[in-house]
């Protein structure tokens, strides 16, 4: 790194996703350029080769994620970046990564949909599309930053969980979070521990040096990793399989593997919970935000308090698994919850309904233009 007097720089969210990935030890990137995620693509192509990694320009998004899964199966930390239209093409491979327990991080910068939609317009309309893209309804961990520094930290955290749980993890931005540049002070970034992928020690199952690729004692456990193409034979398939990775249907062991794919995530859901809270004594209203609406919410909170009003604020950084414990712990004396989202139906609001007890839930929703602080304030009684 260049010698500098100050560690303050101007960085966009996209740039910080790329820097967070490099810090997390990402060694492989493949992508297909798409607004508003191209900033990540560009920086990874620029920087990764010089750091001993490989960055590929893929012919399309299907190949991009498939390349990443291949690199990860060989043992390298891998990431791709896309937006809604590219995600639509990647869904099959997201499921393949989930089924084959392959760690991979996908940076998903939302834009206005459906279809090619509005390439340069902000939206938060892909929350349910991202989370509910698997047959069987498995949980895909999703992290949502709202500042460049959070982009850095949450991308790093996404890599950590992806490695620990051997599953695809999504860092979900929106256009404004990805493309807005701000001054950031590198000295304020939290110290982050980078994990190396835990390799399996050879466990001969008596089958000519082969081993059970997906061996676990308890369904909550995560199998240790065996790289494809190494000295130990690893069997990988996207079809239903037993612990050896062999295609099999309806055997008790295969069903156990299918349950295990979800149970390993459920068992760690508490540890994944990440929120930022700014609770005020005596507040009866809570504003719950994520992504770019966190910034609007912060301004709304500032204005309300400047006018001697009382309001609490909760910003969700780990969208899925739903951080239910930390949300519930923030509801003391709260009677009204305001959830601003840049989508028309209140996508995360619909997910949260069973988390709340007796509070009144109010959405602030908008398409094609950003929610303003005043529009949030108008819903505060």
């Amino acid at each position: 790194m260049e010698a500098v007097q100050s560690m303050v720089r101007i960085r966009s969210g996209n740039q910080m996703v790329a820097e967070g990935a490099l810090r997390a030890g990402c060694k492989f990137f493949a992508g297909y350029p798409i607004t508003p995620a191209s900033g990540i693509y560009k920086l990874m192509i620029d920087m990764l080769p010089g750091r001993g990694g490989v960055a590929l320009s893929a012919p399309d998004e299907i190949s991009a994620l498939a390349y990443c899964v291949g690199a990860s199966l060989r043992g390298q930390k891998a990431m791709t970046a896309t937006s809604g239209p590219g995600w639509a093409l990647m869904i099959e491979t997201v499921q393949y990564a989930l089924m084959t327990e392959t760690p991979v991080v996908i940076a998903m910068v939302q834009r206005l949909g459906p279809s090619t939609g509005g390439a340069t317009q902000n939206a938060q309309g892909d929350v349910l599309l991202v989370e509910h893209c698997t047959s069987g309804g498995y949980t895909i961990p999703v992290f949502t930053p709202s500042t460049p520094i959070e982009c850095y930290e949450l991308t790093h955290i996404a890599f950590t969980w992806s490695e620990l749980l051997r599953t695809p993890v999504v860092v979900m931005l929106d256009k404004e979070v990805g493309m807005t540049s701000e001054d950031i002070d590198y000295m304020t970034i939290h110290d982050l521990t980078t994990l190396s992928r835990q390799r399996s020690i050879q466990r001969d199952n008596g089958k000519n040096g082969a081993m059970d690729t997906y061996y676990f004692e308890n369904p909550e456990d995560v199998p240790s990793f065996v790289p494809v193409g190494g000295q130990i034979k690893a069997t990988v398939t996207g079809s239903a399989h037993n612990k050896a990775g062999k295609l099999q249907k309806n055997s008790p062991e295969t069903l156990e593997v299918l349950y295990h794919l979800q149970k390993k995530i459920d068992a760690h859901a508490n540890q994944m919970e990440l929120v930022k809270r700014d609770l005020q004594d005596g507040a009866r209203t809570l504003i719950l935000s994520y992504g770019i609406t966190a910034r609007t919410a912060r301004e709304a909170v500032r204005r309300i308090r400047n006018n001697n009003g009382k309001v609490s604020w909760l910003n969700v950084l780990s969208l899925f698994p739903v951080p239910a414990n930390k949300i519930r712990a923030s509801l003391h004396n709260i009677e009204r919850i305001i959830i601003p989202e840049e989508n028309f139906g209140g996508q995360y609001r619909s997910v949260l309904c069973n988390v709340f007890d007796k509070q009144e839930i109010v959405g602030v929703n908008k398409l094609g233009a950003m929610i303003t602080p005043d529009e949030i304030i108008a819903k505060v009684v």
């Binding site: 101007i10 340069t120 404004e176 701000e182 001054d183 602080p373």
Partner: protein, 191 residues
């Protein structure tokens, strides 16, 4: 003596290719060098060139909460569609600074400060149309000294790759020319 807290919310708007986004970015960089909090939020159409482009730039002494602003202290506009769109978005007593070269319908508000400068015509006189944006930025800083011109030049030195550093004197000249033009512009002042 307490110093007034700086919180300048600006919008730069024009056609893609006029240097709208880079003009805003230079202000943000200069703000950062002067230890201000800064935020630069681009917005443009899907076209690479010729579409509409704008960026919101906030320069503040305090932490910037929301990058989303709907009323501006200053609107800096480079074409008619942007003028039509953003004239009404200037706060009362705010500033509307525009390149008058290509404007057919000038602004009409009486509660804001209006500064027309013929930046495109001036850039042609200086034989490089691409420095039009620096003339406009100089004009802005002439009216509202958000940052020092010297800091913008320092920012240019940091942002431009070495091979383009030979262009810095021309940019400096453009910034200073803009400042002069704004000083002598037929200013329509609020009230």
């Amino acid at each position: 003596m307490t110093k007034k807290i700086l919180n300048e919310e600006n919008i730069f708007a024009g056609f893609g290719g006029q240097g709208v986004l880079s003009m805003g970015m230079m202000l943000a960089y200069a703000g950062m060098i002067e230890n201000k909090e800064v935020c630069w939020m681009p917005s443009y159409g899907p076209e690479m060139r010729g579409g509409t482009a704008n960026c919101i730039v906030i320069v503040s002494d305090e932490q910037i909460s929301s990058p989303i602003v709907t009323k501006f202290d200053s609107a800096i506009v480079l074409n008619q569609p942007s003028l039509d769109k953003f004239e009404s978005a200037v706060k009362p007593d705010g500033l509307l600074l525009y390149d008058s070269t290509n404007i057919i319908n000038p602004p009409t508000r009486e509660d804001i400060m209006i500064v027309p400068i013929a930046a495109s015509a001036e850039a042609m006189k200086m034989e490089n149309t691409r420095i039009m944006n620096m003339i406009v930025l100089g004009g802005l800083l002439g009216v509202r000294p958000i940052v020092q011109i010297e800091t913008v030049i320092e920012a240019l030195r940091k942002v431009l790759p070495e091979r383009h550093h030979k262009l810095i004197p021309l940019n400096e000249k453009a910034l200073r020319r803009g400042m002069e033009l704004a000083g002598s512009a037929a200013v329509v002042t609020a009230g």
